[in-house]
């Protein structure tokens, strides 16, 4: 096991320890585990199931029910295009098309180099700035498709 794996596993064990025996602890543990690993691989789900003493089927059931959990690795930069009503009527679909064609991927795909993942998200509540996209925690609003290459280039060189 690499050093990085060991650190992450230790972190995960601490989280499990903290929530063990607490009612409703499974979802917070999965949220923290995803922060640590970026997604929820099978081995992590197994470790959580054992640690919290709940059936693996429960862990898997919860992990697949909520849309913010991912069972597949995601890119370094997660691009989320808001598909709330306000963004939709202001042309969010054109933004999705443009980001997709710039990166050569479809929605819910990751670029081959592992840098970008493209997702459409539920309303993020920035309706006053529609249409909106997020790159990790950065928010870009009042978009037109021609602005997309400029935004992406900021992250391509990072």
């Amino acid at each position: 096991m690499s050093e990085r794996d060991e650190i992450r596993r230790k972190e995960l064990d601490e989280v499990i320890e903290h929530y063990r025996g607490q009612e409703g602890g499974l979802i917070p543990v999965l949220q923290k585990a995803q922060e640590i690993y970026g997604y929820l691989p099978e081995v992590v789900q197994e470790r959580i199931a054992r640690g919290l003493n709940v059936p693996l089927s429960d862990v898997y059931g919860v992990a697949t029910f909520y849309s913010l959990f991912s069972l597949k690795p995601v890119g370094d930069y997660k691009i989320g295009i808001c598909m709330g009503t306000a963004c939709y009527v202001k042309g969010a679909a054109d933004i999705v098309d443009r980001v997709g064609s710039e990166l050569g991927i479809k929605v819910n795909e990751t670029t081959a180099d592992g840098r970008f993942t493209l997702e459409v998200t539920r309303c993020i509540g920035a309706c006053g700035l529609a249409p909106v996209l997020t790159v990790n925690k950065d928010v870009y609003g009042r978009l037109i498709p021609d602005e997309i290459p400029g935004i992406l280039s900021k992250y391509k060189d990072m």
């Binding site: 009612e23 917070p28 909520y66 009503t85 309303c123 509540g125 006053g128 700035l129």
Partner: protein
Amino acid sequence: MAFYRSHVLVCGGTGCTSSGCQKVQEALATSLKREGLDKEVAVVQTGCFGFCRLGPIVIVYPEGAFYTQVKPEDVPDIVTEHLIKGKLVERLLFKEEMHEKPVSLYGDIDFYKKQHRIALRNCGAINPEKIGEYFAVDGYQALAKVLHTMTPQEVIDTIKASGLRGRGGGGFLTGAKWEFAARAVGDKKYVVCNADEGDPGAFMDRSVLEGDPHTVLEAMAIAGYAIGASQGYIYVRAEYPIAVERLRTAIAQAREEGMLGENIFNKGFSFDIELRLGSGAFVCGEETALLASVEGKRGMPRPRPPFPAVKGLLGCPTIINNVETLANIPPIILKGVEWFTSIGTERSKGTKVFALAGKINNTGLVEVPMGTTLREIIYDIGGGLPGGKTFKAAQTGGPSGGCIPVQYLDIPIDYDSLAEIGSMMGSGGLIVMDETSCMVDIAKFFLEFTQDESCGKCTPCREGTRQMLEILKRITGGQGKPGDIELLEDLAETIKAASLCGLGQTAPNPVLSTLRYFREEYEAHINEKRCPAGVCQALLNYRIEPEKCKGCGLCAKECPVGAITGERKSPFVLDAGKCIKCGACVAKCPFKAISR
């Protein structure tokens, strides 16, 4: 205590944060320091002012000068002109669409003049990260009053008498809910705040959480006292990172100041609050699904009764109130029932916050008395539609609601009037649409949403929404058949009647309401294979009108598939066989000569 001659308020809501308010605030701090004014002028980061279109927004008090779209490079002007010389920086002042002269003062702006802010009273007025500022605006006074002078039953009676109804969508009487939970037998009881604002197009709860988190904590403690609970949970969306952070800060500060925790105000009442983060499931806004999620399970609803007030979280009596509802509680306790019931209509008291978005000039949050007309909200406060477009419909209530057509612009809006015309209050999202919005497409958009968010427990909802969506896709794709409308109506009835929770029971509403008011649009799609709004790509037929075409050739240059040909200075021709209907030519044509 430090005394400042001026306060510069910088909006730190999600909207302004993405417009770059952080840099403006930093620039202000450096600039003030350089001029030696940092002991005279305070910079305050507040919650949302509601006027998201024009962010970042900066207000300078005591004058109340309202500066919009402020960039870091504008800061030196604000400092030297306004704060040193005492002159307004005219070029940054807000300009009303209708008026020529800029409006200098916050209170003079049409957007704010007709508003009546109760739930949003502190948003944009105080620093949400400092409990001291909340104290300064009578924060936690209501909790003190309740603990010192009222019995739990008196609190319940007050809320009942105020007529406050749930602002999250249901419109159930808040006081009645509290009474059920108070009477229910149980060793443990819980107060849960539903901050899972999933309704697309609504963002008032986010604004309250970001701009005035303590009001939610205070109201929850009051509710806890009323029903006999000592533990509260706030179920907040993970999609709202700023709100989550501010809530964490607020809870820590409230504990430190003794507003939460053991023996509050030495009155023997203990109450504490924990956060639970949602993980992206719209159905968790439904109360029984939300409770399942707080318990760490898949968020699926269960049949009611028993209602959560009797058997809720972990089997204990639980009340679940939405953020905006809670934000009304402290003012009702402090200002009294008479004051609150003087606002609003007969059966809907108080105010409602609406999130204005879509094809409207002033996007943002507005709080108006119940009974205000849609026309006042859209035209007087919202500044009308941009680009001279005409109003076609307003969508309220999100995926559970419906579209309100132009003939109802003048009905006074409250819970009951909206239900009568086939829409609903919902959480208060209000999306304005103009003639370029296709109603069939909007119905399809909402069905895509509900179909995807259906938890799958009830077959009519799981399968029925899928079938409805398939039909709508066919209609917008040019494959509609006679009988489709009737089939949609039939499916809608079954789904409404046979689903367990609000998601399924209301999922067909967007289709039913658009069928009610825009049936001819459906018929045009099905019978004439035509989309009157020019949205549904498969139904568009691009054509160059020879009498309007000046032969400039811009369209031919723009066309990605070479479908347009012609000689310069004579009308060009579009080959419909090659056309991929991308719309690039329409966007480029200076003479509006291309029709679809």
